[in-house]
Each structure stands twice: as C-alpha cells, then as structure tokens.
C-alpha cells in the first residue's frame, strides 16, 4: 500500500516515466480541448505558453479563440523546444517531446475549473477600487490555484524535456527557459496575426 502511494506520488511529480509518445499526445490534446471548453464558460483563456487569464470582455471570447489559441501556443513551445534541443542532442523523438510537453498542460484544467467559481466585478468597479478583486473569494481562490498550477506545469515541463531529450542540469535549464521565453514571444506574435 505504501509502495503504491509512493508510486502515485512519483507519478504526480513525473508522469513521463510511464507516459510518452502517442498516448501522452492524444490524452494531452483531449484535456486541452476540455480545458478550452471549461475556459470558454469561465470566461478565461490560455493564450500563451504558461498563462491563463480572464478576458476583459467575455463577448470577445469566441470558440475559435478558446480552442485555437492554446493549440498555437503549444505548437510554438514544441517547435522552439525541439529546435533548441537539437543543439545538444539528436537522440530524441519529436513525438515524445510533443506528447510530454502537451500532457504537461493538463493541470491548466484545474485553473479553468477554479475560474468557473469567479464572478468578476465590472471594469468600472475595478477602475474605481482595484482592491475589490482581492475581496472577491472566487478570484483569490483562482489566483492561489493558478500559482500552484503554473508551478506544477513548469515541473512537468522540466521532466518532459528531461525524459524526452535526456538533457540534464545546465543544458536542460537553458533549453527550457529559452523555450518558454521564445515560445511565448512567438506565440503572442502569431496570435496577433490570427
């Protein structure tokens, strides 16, 4: 029983010792679509490599945006990460990298679910008193969940690159940090064009 619990804890930290390739990619994509659907109803959008936020005007949030933006962001991250990994190693499969990095976004579903509990005050109320947001229980809960989820996603991204490309320490840190920064910039640029 203790062993099983340890195994489960290890899998929560690094699911990619067991999961990679097509199963990771397909399940990651399914959860991404589910996350987008929940986000649509919560009025939140994931339009970058690592960010989830509420849209200013819920009327601006279309199904096209909700579904396409996370996919474009994810594609940018995988593309940049694969290119950077090629500097250090050729001994990896793109399918593993794409699958594990896509599955690493699964915890964002929790952020979107927490977003369902938020009823945002109007922009006029926020402009009059910005602290009104911090007196909103749903919003504070969303913030706390979001911070935990972002840390969780980064940890999974670290293991995704580590397992898929067999990179460690300095090389791993360099590839991941640059992938997140360049991937985010590329994603924002492409999303502005869409």
């Amino acid at each position: 029983m203790l062993m099983k619990r340890n195994d489960f804890a290890r899998l929560l930290l690094n699911p990619f010792s067991r999961l990679a390739g097509w199963p990771a990619l397909l399940s990651g994509l399914c959860v991404m679509v589910l996350t987008a659907v929940v986000g649509y109803y919560a009025g939140a959008l994931s339009d970058g490599v690592l960010d989830v936020h509420f849209v200013d005007d819920p009327a601006d949030l279309t199904w096209r945006k909700a579904l396409l933006f996370p996919l474009v962001s994810q594609a940018c991250l995988v593309f940049v990460c694969a290119l950077l990994s090629l500097i250090f190693t050729r001994n990896f499969r793109l399918l593993d990298l794409a699958g594990t990095l896509t599955f690493a976004r699964v915890p964002f579903l929790l952020s979107m679910l927490a977003g369902l509990a938020v009823s945002l005050p109007s922009m006029a109320d926020i402009a009059a008193d910005p602290f009104v947001l911090f007196r909103n229980f749903g919003f504070v809960l969303f913030l706390i969940v979001n911070v935990i989820v972002v840390i969780w996603v980064v940890v999974w991204m670290v293991y995704a690159v580590r397992v898929s490309c067999d990179l460690k320490s300095g090389k791993l840190a360099m590839v991941l940090i640059l992938s997140i920064v360049v991937g985010e910039v590329l994603a924002k640029y492409l999303l502005l064009k869409i």
């Binding site: 010792s17 001994n91 499969r93 593993d96 397992v163």
Partner: protein, 95 residues
C-alpha cells in the same frame, strides 16, 4: 515470511573503491584451483539492475518498445536507461 539474501559479486574494493580483479577460480566438481590475475568482464561492473536490463534487452532482440512494455515504463525512459549503461560501458573501456 521468507527473507532472501542476494549474494552479489563484489566488483570494487570496500576499502579504497578500486576495481577488484579475480585471483582464484575453483572447479566445484573436482576442486581444481586456477590462480592468476583476471580482470572482471565489463558487464560485471554494472549494477545488478543494469545487468538485468542488459539481459532483458538482449532477450527482447534489442527492442526498446518491448523493453518499455516489459518494464511498464515509457519509451524515452527506457532509452535513457540504455544511454546511461552505454556511457558507463564506454567509461570502463577508456579506463
């Protein structure tokens, strides 16, 4: 409850951690002893788990996919384990 003790071939000196050599071998049937100074094979220098990995890998015709299924691990995890073993064996060769 039965407790099994696995007798492992010692490959490093417990005192100074240098690699051990074989000095004496004995025929279990007639008791003949052969002495000399024989190096251990490189595979014997790997840990028991790594030796088991190599054995399973050969038995599975060198298929990482089958190794992944056998060990219930992902394909890249198994490939990384193999990379580690290759690195170790290369290091033994250059010593």
């Amino acid at each position: 409850m039965e407790i099994f003790f696995i007798v492992m071939l010692p490959v490093y000196c417990p005192s100074c951690h240098a690699q051990l050599h074989v000095r004496k071998m004995q025929c279990e049937q007639c008791g003949t002893e052969v002495s000399g100074n024989y190096e251990l094979p490189e595979l014997a220098l790997l840990s028991p788990d790594e030796q088991l990995f190599v054995l399973q890998f050969v038995k599975n015709s060198g298929s990482l996919k089958e190794m992944a299924a056998l060990r219930r691990l992902s394909y890249p995890t198994v490939r990384n384990m193999l990379n580690e073993i290759i690195l170790k064996l290369n290091a033994y060769e250059t010593k």
